[in-house]
């Protein structure tokens, strides 16, 4: 078994940069089962052998309160399924902020595993005249301390040597960690003895660190897990706690004891300037978090990001679109006409193209998020926005994902990763798809230009079409607020998480780290979301292709033969043939399983003002909202080759009638369709990404269910209300 080293540290200490510097390109990422924690492992050569480096998520303490936080503890205790036992621990600490960073180190001391401390950001500490004597620090901590500067790759070799020594049996000097009051130590001893000797139903050895957390963390995750396995523990815990703390809070006793130990070490090994130095970071913050300037800068940054997603990604998206179109055409030419061609070209190539087209937007957004995160701005954005979002039960950290979702919910959902609290993260994931993404725009554009009159309202100041578009973007936001509020009070209810957010020192982004992040997330998106959407596409294609009736084909074949036999000019013939082709695909679609489903669901969509054709187009747009335009086109005898500005589709929609001869579309119907698409979750890729990010099948099902229900009710209300207002007759 190769040597395994866990890398751990507080957030914002440059742990990722160091991890990259140590492991280079050898990283493998994945997810721990059942939780939203990313698993990252890299390899490293030490002493001529290969060692595994496990990158643990940044944390301030080992007091776990959720399954996600427990992953760190379980890996350190070598009891995480699928992870090799840990041989040594590498703690990364920020030299400019030793006091708080050493808190985690003091907890790591109690693991009893070889420990190496990497003192990062030494250059910054020098600049701030913080003088650290690493020899004294090593002696006091009882662990080798190595000065490094991860972003400049300084000290990496020395760190490598220290890791080699630690994992190859170098004698470790035994130094005591923090001293706790005797009563607490006695209770931990007693509890440890009881848990490991009695008949407690756990069936495994419970390590001292876990026993300590069980006793100290009231309502913590260890308590929840152990008391589930052994009911006796739950009953006697409160008595043990009262004895251990003599009435005082154990959390306070732990923190005081640890900080007392830290103060002693820092007093011996660190010399800080006596007066506070105003740093560059402080000066920047005076502007960036200034009530007026800060808000302005925030708006400016968001505008740039938002614009970039649309304008930078636009040409790239066109390129992807064109590439897939060209591939489709050349494959069409190669394959004989029929089922195989239809599956490969209309199903797979077009379908995968529909997903890959979001890749440029995702990469551009992730690029900005990575920069903003890396330089420390993200924490400031959360600081600025927290008050607004706290009103609906979320925190400032939910802002960026929500904003990103206006471009596309997929990067929005992926951008929830930094949200530490699981309930907050899932709530954000569930409301993010309500923001009007770019895929809704084609639907809005078609409906608005076709059915909303181009008139000026409010004294000629505003254009009605623009107003409706603004309205559609507002619907999502207006609905997201009560939805988030409700979720946080019902199914995602829990202790309000504290909004304790460190505002780290600003630093220049590490381009290597940024690019690595962007590329990795792009790859993940293609591979994982791609495989699921691929399956969905094939199913939808099959449902709308089969049963491909030979009778229908033969019937249109006969018509085409008639045209060929007629004396029309070549130009007229090709027009007539393409009309017949479109009619044929419409006839096949109506006869397909999807078409039959459309007729079956018609009673359900009639109250929305829809007929079976609109209902069916909606169902067919399950993989992606914009598919509805192609489906409407196909159904209304135009063939599937229409885009949203096609005049002929608009004309055909205008002229299409119901069975009784009345016009099918009017303003209420158009509004009802738009409202439905504003709120529904007709996006296979979003559902796939929700499944991946929450590691559960239940959340994507829930998201789809609640959004569809909401969309239906809102569309019903829109249609009935606007019809009652009499808007139905003003076409």
């Amino acid at each position: 078994m190769p040597t395994t080293i866990a890398v751990i540290g507080n957030p914002n200490v440059g742990k990722t940069t160091l991890f990259n510097a140590l492991t280079g390109l050898s990283q493998v990422t994945g997810n721990y089962p059942g939780v939203t924690v990313e698993r990252k492992v890299g390899t490293l050569r030490i002493n001529g052998t290969t060692a595994h480096l496990v990158d643990l998520p940044g944390t301030y303490s080992l007091a776990a309160r959720s399954p996600d936080e427990m992953i760190v503890v379980d890996v350190l205790l070598s009891q995480q399924a699928g992870e090799d036992p840990i041989d040594a621990v590498l703690a990364v600490v920020d030299a400019t902020n030793l006091d708080r960073n050493l808190y985690l180190v003091s907890q790591l001391k109690e693991l009893g595993k070889p420990l190496v401390v990497a003192l990062n950001m030494c250059d910054l500490a020098d600049k701030r005249q913080i003088k650290i004597d690493t020899d004294v620090l090593s002696r006091e901590l009882g662990a080798p301390v190595v000065r490094i500067c991860a972003n400049k790759r300084i000290g990496i070799d020395a760190l490598n040597a220290a890791l080699a020594a630690a994992t190859h049996g170098a004698p470790t000097v035994h130094v005591n960690g923090p001293e706790f009051p005797e009563a607490l130590t006695r209770e931990v001893d007693a509890l440890e003895a009881r848990l490991n000797h009695g008949d407690h139903g756990l069936g495994r050895h419970v390590q001292r660190l876990e026993v300590f957390r069980l006793l100290v963390d009231r309502g913590g995750y260890v308590e929840a897990r152990l008391s589930q396995a052994d009911k006796d523990i739950a009953g006697s815990l409160d008595e043990s706690r009262a004895r251990a703390g003599a009435g005082a809070s154990l959390a306070a006793i732990e923190a005081r004891s640890r900080y007392a130990w830290i103060r002693q070490i820092v007093a011996a090994g660190v010399r800080k300037p006596t007066t506070r130095v105003t740093t560059v970071s402080d000066k920047l913050d005076a502007v960036i978090t200034h009530p007026l300037l800060g808000t302005f800068i925030f708006a400016l940054i968001m505008t740039i990001v938002f614009q970039a997603i649309f304008s930078w990604a636009g040409p790239l998206m066109d390129l992807v679109d064109a590439a897939f179109g060209a591939i489709g055409e050349s494959v069409s030419a190669m394959l004989p006409e029929g089922m195989l061609q239809s599956l490969v070209v209309d199903g797979i190539i077009a379908g995968v193209g529909n997903v890959i087209i979001f890749l440029p937007q995702i990469m551009v957004l992730m690029f900005f998020i990575a920069i903003l995160e890396d330089c420390g701005y993200m924490a400031r954005a959360a600081f600025l926005m927290d008050k607004l979002l706290s009103r609906c039960g979320l925190s400032g950290q939910s802002f960026i994902p929500m904003l990103s979702s206006f471009a596309c919910a997929i990067p929005g959902v992926m951008a929830t990763r930094p949200i530490g609290n699981r309930r907050d993260r899932i709530t954000t994931i569930l409301v993010a798809p309500l923001m009007s993404c770019s895929a809704r725009l084609p639907v809005y554009t078609l409906m608005i230009t076709a059915f909303i009159p181009d008139t000026k309202v409010i004294g000629g100041w505003l254009n009605l079409q623009g107003l409706v578009l603004t309205g559609m973007y507002s619907v999502g936001i207006a609905v997201a607020i009560p939805v988030a509020w409700t979720l946080k009070r019902t199914i995602l209810k829990g202790e309000t998480p504290p909004f304790l957010l460190e505002l780290p020192t600003y630093k220049l982004p590490q381009w290597g780290t940024v690019l690595r992040k962007v590329l990795r997330q792009g790859k993940e998106f293609i591979v994982r979301a791609g495989t699921i959407i691929f399956a969905v596409i094939v199913v939808v294609w099959a449902l709308s292709y089969f049963p491909h009736s030979d009778e229908i084909t033969a019937m249109f074949e006969a018509e085409r033969a008639k045209v060929a036999a007629s004396g029309m000019s070549e130009e007229e013939q090709s027009i007539a043939i393409s009309e017949i082709d479109a009619e044929e695909s419409g006839a096949h679609l109506r006869n397909s399983y999807f078409g039959r489903m459309g007729l079956a669901i018609e009673p359900l969509v009639r109250p929305l003002g829809w007929d079976w054709r609109i209902g069916m187009a909606t169902i067919a747009s399950f993989p992606a909202r914009e598919v509805v335009i192609a489906t409407l086109g196909t159904i209304f005898y135009l063939g599937s080759d229409v885009d949203e500005t096609s005049d002929s589709l608009k004309t055909v929609l205008h002229e299409s009638t119901r069975a009784d001869g009345s016009k099918l579309f009017n303003i209420p119907v158009a509004l009802s369709i738009m409202v439905f698409f504003a709120l529904c979750c007709q996006c296979g890729a979003t559902l796939a990404v929700i499944r991946r990010e929450t590691q559960s099948n239940a959340w994507p099902v829930f998201a789809f269910g609640y959004m569809t229900a909401l969309a239906y009710v809102a569309a019903l209300f829109t249609y009935q209300f606007t019809t009652w207002l009499g808007w139905g007759v003003v076409t």
Partner: protein
């Protein structure tokens, strides 16, 4: 007994006790807001909440509702 949420930007204080229990109580202490620690309020967010403080030599943002748990000497 004054609490942290009552301080204005630029004002300092020394922690005398922490109210409450559970997760917030524990997190505040892990982040260095312990008995005897000195704090300085740096600024308030534009909408008046949360606040930014300097504690143990680093900058921390917390809501006023959480700051109300921190009693000052």
């Amino acid at each position: 007994m004054p609490t942290l949420n009552q301080l204005k930007p630029g004002q300092t204080g020394i922690v005398s006790a922490l109210r409450g229990d559970g997760a917030i109580h524990q997190r505040l202490q892990e982040m260095g807001i312990i008995e005897g620690a000195s704090l300085e309020v740096i600024r308030m967010a534009p909408l008046g909440d949360p606040m930014e403080i300097l504690v143990q030599g680093y900058h921390l943002s917390l809501r006023k509702s959480e700051a109300a748990l921190v009693e000052l000497a």
